[in-house]
């Protein structure tokens, strides 16, 4: 029963499992280690001034990227544990409940705490630079988004050692996720951390839509905009229209759990199926939210490394926009088996198959862009090329799953698991890794090592096929998802063993990727030109890393691929127009507000997880005070003086 006074559940600190003891010890050691290093090297002030209070989109991109890679590691370890458990029949490596917790956190982390920040890292680093803006439309809100995500991720991961992880699957369907069958605080962790990060994602969607519509450089009409920015616009539209539905679904389930309401209970008028419906109204657009930016990155990468402009630019734009609308109309294909009737299932089956058309258009356009191009097989290009066959297979199995009658056979089997890993890893992860290698010099001023990067690519890509192709067969042989072990006489042994080996190879690939980052910090080739890839879009016209105000003079755009056209003109000997005189640059001031706001959200969320309503109310009050103080603060911006711009430009520019 909820009480006003704090009470500790019997299992406040999770005990009884050597893996969790290990995690607890390593969390304490890592925390002490970080505190020691910061104190010993006197970095606290630097951390606060340069990072925790920053509103610079480029620094926020770096923080998103680091957080995404950390969460990729956490989700990846979950995957390794699951594949180890399934390597052989009747394994006792994990107990059933622990397995449930691990597949739940694996899914939630990979989608919401790895893929989302990874795409936001790419949004942040590339969009303002590509469209010739000095920052996003609402820099303070951008910082709020990041810190809400960060503390939500912290809250979610805390559940592993305090209170117990959520264990009702990443979709968290009631009645299993309801109070009756899942009384522990684990599901509360899931609901509250998703709510908090959802606010951040929503704000990012609004921020980037406004940035793209309102802050383009003069002359950059929408149809001259780089395709990555177009894909961010499409993705932002989906974020804005999909996330509120998730917020509602999770809020109602939270009210069920905390206040004993009956929205999704079995009895007293509740209808758990409505949660499924609402969840997927968000959930299906969500997979397009994370894959459309990957499509944008592939467009940039394929065009740059083929040395050609993109084939069929207008059809690329049209298909992005079509996908962003159609993808909102497909969600029932996640629960055909609920039995909404042949009319409903047929409509959504046809809609689902039709989304293959604009996607196919994009794939052909990438192929035609490469056709007769002068292809450079750099690491970003490798990821982009490897994406195409994987996505073709994933798309074909997707159309198989979309056929409603056949889906009754595939539903929730490993066939489905293989399908969505194929499109999410092959699409989003490959896309984000391509983007990471592509924009890394712009973010940090040095290149990632190509040789190590190739090793990482081949291990990860090869391991991918070995892991997931057998899972299609396992699914057809009747192995369902979320089973923590299986008997030896099902004929699944060899395929499961192969799949696990593949997963280990992917794990090694990830480690090599991290090694590449670590190696390149020390030995990476410096990018002194600002244009290491012979790029086409405006971000490559800037030094690497770009100065905090991005453009000393806002460029005037006259064509698509503005930087490439400018380079061609200069190569022909056209003298560039004499630079306009510099003007003071209007910039936002750093602020600790977003960080403090997110800390309060974290405290309040933690309180509500354990039904400590006093803490929750105090945090609500703190949030309101924080918002009020911000709206009364008029000292939020300043002007960079001309002398400082001249000095910075003289230091950074090669000329």
């Amino acid at each position: 029963m909820p009480t006003l006074l704090p009470h500790f559940p019997a299992t406040f600190i999770v005990t009884g499992n050597p893996l969790i003891y290990g995690a607890e010890v390593s969390i304490v050691l890592a925390t002490v280690g970080i505190l020691f290093v910061l104190t010993y090297f006197k970095k606290w002030r630097w951390l606060w001034r340069e990072w925790l209070t920053t509103v610079d989109h480029k620094k926020i991109a770096v923080m998103y990227l680091i957080a995404a890679l950390l969460m990729f590691f956490r989700g990846g370890v979950d995957a390794m544990l699951m594949r180890t458990q399934l390597m052989q029949p009747n394994m006792h490596f994990l107990q059933a409940e622990h397995y449930n917790q691990i597949f739940t956190t694996h899914g939630t982390i990979m989608i919401l705490f790895m893929a989302m920040p990874f795409i936001f890292a790419m949004f942040n680093i590339a969009v303002p630079l590509q469209i010739g803006a000095r920052d996003v439309a609402f820099p303070y809100l951008n910082a709020v988004s990041f810190w809400l995500y960060f503390f939500a991720a912290l809250l979610f991961n805390l559940s592993f050692v305090i209170g117990g992880s959520p264990d009702a699957g990443w979709v968290s369907y009631p009645p299993l996720a309801g109070l009756e069958f899942d009384p522990g605080p684990g599901e509360n962790f899931y609901l509250l951390s998703l709510q908090i990060t959802g606010i951040g994602s929503m704000a990012t969607g609004i921020n980037f839509m406004v940035t793209i519509l309102k802050m383009r450089a003069p002359g950059m009409t929408l149809m001259r905009m780089p395709l990555f920015s177009w894909s961010v616009l499409a993705s932002s539209i989906l974020i804005i229209f999909a996330f509120p539905v998730l917020t509602v679904a999770l809020a109602l389930l939270l009210v069920d759990r905390l206040a004993g309401a009956h929205f999704f209970t079995m009895l007293q008028g509740g209808n758990p199926m409505m949660y499924v419906n609402l969840f997927w109204i968000w959930g299906h657009p969500e997979v397009y939210i994370v894959i459309l930016p990957a499509f944008g990155i592939f467009s940039e990468v394929v065009s740059t490394f083929s040395g050609k402009r993109i084939f069929g630019y207008s059809s690329m734009v049209a298909s992005l926009m079509t996908i962003s609308v159609i993808s909102y109309l497909l969600w029932v294909h996640h629960f055909y088996t609920m039995g909404a009737g042949p009319g409903v299932n047929s409509f959504f089956a046809v809609a689902t198959m039709s989304v293959g058309i604009p996607t196919g258009v994009k794939v052909f356009n990438w192929l035609f862009t490469m056709y007769r191009g002068r292809i450079r097989l750099t690491v970003p290009m490798l990821w982009a090329i490897a994406f195409i066959p994987i996505f073709a297979i994933g798309g074909a199995t997707g159309v198989m799953l979309a056929a409603a009658p056949a889906d009754y056979q595939y539903h929730n089997s490993f066939f489905l698991i293989a399908h969505f890993h194929q499109v999410l890893i092959g699409g989003t992860v490959f896309g984000m890794l391509a983007g990471m290698y592509y924009w890394w010099p712009k973010m940090f001023g040095y290149m990632l090592n190509e040789r190590i990067g190739r090793w990482a690519f081949w291990l990860f890509n090869g391991g991918f096929y070995v892991t997931f192709l057998p899972q299609y067969l396992l699914g057809l042989m009747g192995m369902t998802r979320r089973m923590y072990t299986y008997p030896a006489d099902m004929g699944w042994n060899a395929l499961n063993f192969i799949s696990t080996i593949g997963a280990y190879v992917m794990g090694v690939g990830f480690i090599v990727l991290v090694l590449d980052v670590v190696y390149s910090i020390r030995y990476g080739e410096r990018d002194v030109t600002g244009d290491p890839w012979n790029g086409r879009t405006l971000e490559w016209s800037l030094p690497s890393p770009a100065p905090h105000y991005n453009f000393a003079r806002i460029p005037t755009v006259t064509s698509r691929d503005a930087w490439w056209t400018g380079k061609q003109a200069r190569a022909k000997g056209d003298a560039p127009a004499p630079p306009e005189p510099l003007q003071p640059i209007h910039m936002p001031k750093n602020s600790g507000g977003p960080f403090i706001l997110a800390v309060i959200f974290f405290i309040g969320g933690f309180g509500l997880v354990f039904n400590w309503y006093v803490l929750g109310l105090l945090a609500l009050l703190g949030i309101l005070v924080n918002l009020l103080l911000r709206s009364l603060d008029y000292d939020t911006d300043y002007y960079v003086p001309i002398e400082e711009i001249e000095h910075t430009e003289a230091t950074l520019r090669r000329a």
């Binding site: 802050m215 009737g341 806002i554």
Partner: protein
């Protein structure tokens, strides 16, 4: 952002200046008659809905339909008279996004009713 319109122009504040000038060239937004007309119409729509509900002249289904129509008209009145949706600088992205939002809202509500009625097998 628009706190220093007199400071040297840059990207962000020049946008703000654009908005300010486009507002200045649109006289209706300054006129109180717009607000008074909007106020009267919205009050009339609200009282109309209330009267219909109290008078019970229609069957429940017809009543719900009429009230729904009045509510949609109310949205339009609020948007046009008070939120000035038609007065933003061109291109009017806000109208596009608003239209898209209405479309998605319609889709969510209509399809959810369709899906959750299970082909008539359940009573809600």
């Amino acid at each position: 952002m628009s706190q220093h319109p007199d400071r040297p122009s840059d990207h962000a504040s020049s946008h703000a200046a654009d908005r300010a000038s486009s507002h200045a060239s649109n006289p209706p937004s300054g006129s109180p008659w717009m607000y008074i007309a909007g106020f009267v119409i919205s009050i009339a729509l609200t009282l109309g809905a209330l009267w219909l509900a109290l008078a019970r002249q229609f069957s429940t289904e017809a009543l719900l339909t009429v009230i729904l129509i009045l509510a949609i008209l109310q949205i339009g009145v609020q948007m046009f008279f008070f939120m000035h949706v038609t007065e933003s600088p061109r291109p009017q992205f806000n109208l596009w996004i608003l239209g898209l939002g209405m479309f998605f809202t319609f889709v969510v509500i209509a399809s959810s009713i369709w899906i959750m009625s299970f082909g008539g097998a359940l009573g809600y």
